[in-house]
Amino acid sequence: MAKILYIDDEISALKAISAILKKAGFNILTATTAEEGISLLKETSIDCLLLDYRLPQMDGIELLKWLKYSGINIPVVMLTAYGTIEKAVEAMKLGAYHYLIKPVDTELLINVLKEAIEKSSMLFKEKEKVYSPFPEIIGKSKAMQEVFI
């Protein structure tokens, strides 16, 4: 069961969307601030992050930056009420997987999340392949790893 972390400061949206996603078969963790989200990210492994753009104090974009900086590689689906191209481009540049505009269509949301998780796991597997192209031949010493990776 895929584990999703949903961060949104709107309690009612948080409740409703969590319920829908739970029903759709996801394991949902929720947070109302980015800081709360970060501590959850540190504690547990998450398959996908559903992130609101506007959050109190640290906002969605800053959290994306933090993820990139921390090297945490999970797909992020952004949610926002600002339907502008600039914001979308900004989010995509920082590594967001998708960008959805509020009010969000629940079916679309579920599909996007599934797709995100699927693609990221595929990507992870491919990366594994790239990281060890000849696992049998090449040693696991640090120097050898550096040459090939």
Binding site: E10, S12, A13, K15, A16, I17, A19, I20, K23, R54, L79, A81, Y82, G83, T84, I85, I101, K102, P103, V104, D105, T106
Partner: protein
């Protein structure tokens, strides 16, 4: 001293009063009176000179005549004196006495006996013959009579004297009598000339004043905030006379083209005409007043243009201010509304998929529909407030319109309205933002649908004019009242009960972004016509 100063002051005040009075009278009157006075002075001087000259020459003529007659008489009477023939002498005297100005004629023999006299009583009397009588002399007495003494000589021998009295008064009287007719003639001629001068100076002042008067009228209308051109009916334009189609010439469609240097060169090059020989110059080149009027016209045109620009700029600025204030507001409002909408939508979606019940489903769909409506409204606010930059792509405009028509076709048919299309197929593919143009056309079509009833017609046509593509969307609906026509493109202006009032504002913005133009023609009760003009960017 004191008196003199007072007198001087009085004189100064009278002069200044007179001058200020002259200053105030109109130019036309000034010209009229100046002409009249000049003419009267001229006529008077000329008449007096002519009359005087005529009198003088007549007088001289008479005097010369008398002298000649007397000379002749002195010679003719020699025989009569020698042979003593007083009758013949008398006859001759009577003959000469008929001439004007002669007071008396007397002929005496060498002894002083009067043998001929105009006054018969004097005959036989003696006058004193002295040395002085042997010479020719004359003197004028107190009564103005000039006495002339001529000695009569037969060869070298003195045989008698001829004495005459010429009355200056009588001569003058005769001259006055004789020139009386001339005076009358001159008076009549002067009278006619005076009339003619009055007429001429009146006409002249009128011709000079008329254009100035027109200029003055126009200037007065400026004071009344009306900018009007001062028409000059005699002016012709070079583009009409020379059939010139050089629209980039600086003088194209302008008056006084000969003053523009480049135009002068152009004319020489293309029409082989020198300005001085040109019909346009000959007809249009007026005097200084004409030049003044043209300069005035140019000033008015420039002023009008500047005012229009200013007006436009102010409107644009207001619009921009309104837009930017709106942009900020829309962003905030959109965010604040979309978040709760998100929760509502998610909640209804959850309830829908987890609970059963007809009534529940029905009311949930109402919530869904209204949420969607609110969302659309907010989205249109946002899209107007934050315009998306154009994405130019080469495309077929007819195809784009057909795509839009597909969206509304069913609705139009279901409502019992007629949809007519007429595409000009020869429009080449050109650069425009197909997505945004479709949006604009859709907005116009939605408006047309809202404005029409069953049986009305909605027509869409495309055409090309010069380097412009025209898209015409017209309907036979309710039309727009005149007083609202200039408001319809303003943001938030709407006459509908539903709608954001941003549809037409968006249309205008999209078309303006394309460097195009939207024209609206409408008549209340007859229908509305929107014409989109797009530049053909190939």
């Amino acid at each position: 001293m004191q008196q003199m100063r007072i007198l001087q002051n009085l004189k100064n005040s009278v002069t200044s009063k007179f001058l200020s009075k002259i200053k105030r009278i109109s130019i036309g009157e000034k010209i009229f009176f100046a002409f009249l006075i000049l003419f009267i002075i001229l006529i008077l001087t000329v008449n007096l000179l002519i009359l005087n000259y005529q009198k003088k020459s007549l007088k001289n003529q008479i005097n010369r005549n008398i002298t000649t007659l007397l000379e002749n008489l002195s010679k003719d009477t020699i025989d009569h004196i020698v042979f003593f023939d007083p009758l013949a002498i008398d006859e001759k005297i009577t003959l000469i006495m008929g001439n004007p100005g002669i007071e008396y004629i007397m002929i005496a023999d060498k002894n002083g006996r009067i043998i001929g006299h105009s006054s018969k009583k004097e005959l036989g009397n003696f006058i004193k013959i002295g040395e002085s009588n042997l010479k020719r002399w004359q003197y004028t007495d107190n009564e103005g009579i000039r006495h002339l003494n001529i000695p009569i000589m037969a060869g070298d021998t003195f045989i008698g004297i001829l004495r005459t009295g010429i009355s200056e008064n009588k001569v003058n009287q005769y001259v006055t009598e004789a020139t009386k007719n001339l005076k009358n003639y001159i008076f009549i001629l002067s009278f006619f000339a005076f009339g003619f001068t009055v007429f001429m100076s009146f006409m002249l002042s009128k011709t000079l004043i008329k254009p100035l008067q027109r200029l003055k009228d126009r200037m007065s209308s400026i004071q009344a905030d009306k900018l009007e051109l001062c028409e000059n009916p005699s002016t012709v334009l070079c583009k009409d006379i020379l059939n010139c189609e050089k629209a980039d010439c600086p003088a194209f469609g302008k008056e006084r083209c000969w003053l523009i240097k480049e135009a002068k060169e152009n004319c020489k090059k293309y029409h082989n005409i020198d300005c001085k020989d040109c019909y346009v110059y000959k007809v249009s080149c007026g005097d200084e007043i004409g030049y003044l009027i043209e300069t005035f016209n140019e000033m008015i045109i420039k002023l009008k243009h500047s005012l229009e620009e200013l007006d436009k700029a102010t409107k644009e600025k207001l619009k921009l201010e309104k837009s930017s204030a709106m942009a900020e507001m829309a962003m905030t409002v959109a965010h604040e509304i979309k978040n709760p909408l998100n929760a509502i939508k998610a909640s209804t979606s959850y309830i829908k998929s987890n609970f059963e019940g007809e009534v529940l489903k029905e009311f949930l769909s109402i919530i869904d529909k209204e949420t969607e409506r609110l969302n659309e409204l907010i989205t249109s606010f946002l899209s107007y407030a934050r315009p998306v930059p154009l994405k130019y792509e080469k495309a077929n405009v007819n195809k784009s319109i057909t795509d839009v028509i597909k969206l509304i076709e069913t609705e139009v048919k279901e409502d019992g309205k007629i949809l007519k299309t007429e595409f000009y197929e020869k429009i080449p593919e050109f650069y425009f933002d197909s997505y945004q143009l479709k949006q604009a056309i859709l907005n116009l079509l939605v408006n047309a649908i809202d404005a029409t009833n069953r049986g009305d017609t909605i027509s869409i046509s495309t055409s090309m004019k010069e380097s412009k593509v025209l898209i015409k969307i017209s309907d036979t609906g309710m039309g727009i009242p005149d007083e609202l026509l200039n408001k319809i493109f303003e943001p938030f202006f709407t006459t509908k009960t539903i709608g954001s009032g941003l549809g037409l504002a968006c249309v205008e913005r999209i078309i303006k972004d394309h460097d195009g133009n939207v024209i609206v023609n409408s008549k209340k009760g007859e229908g509305t016509e929107f014409i989109i003009e797009l530049p053909l960017k190939l």
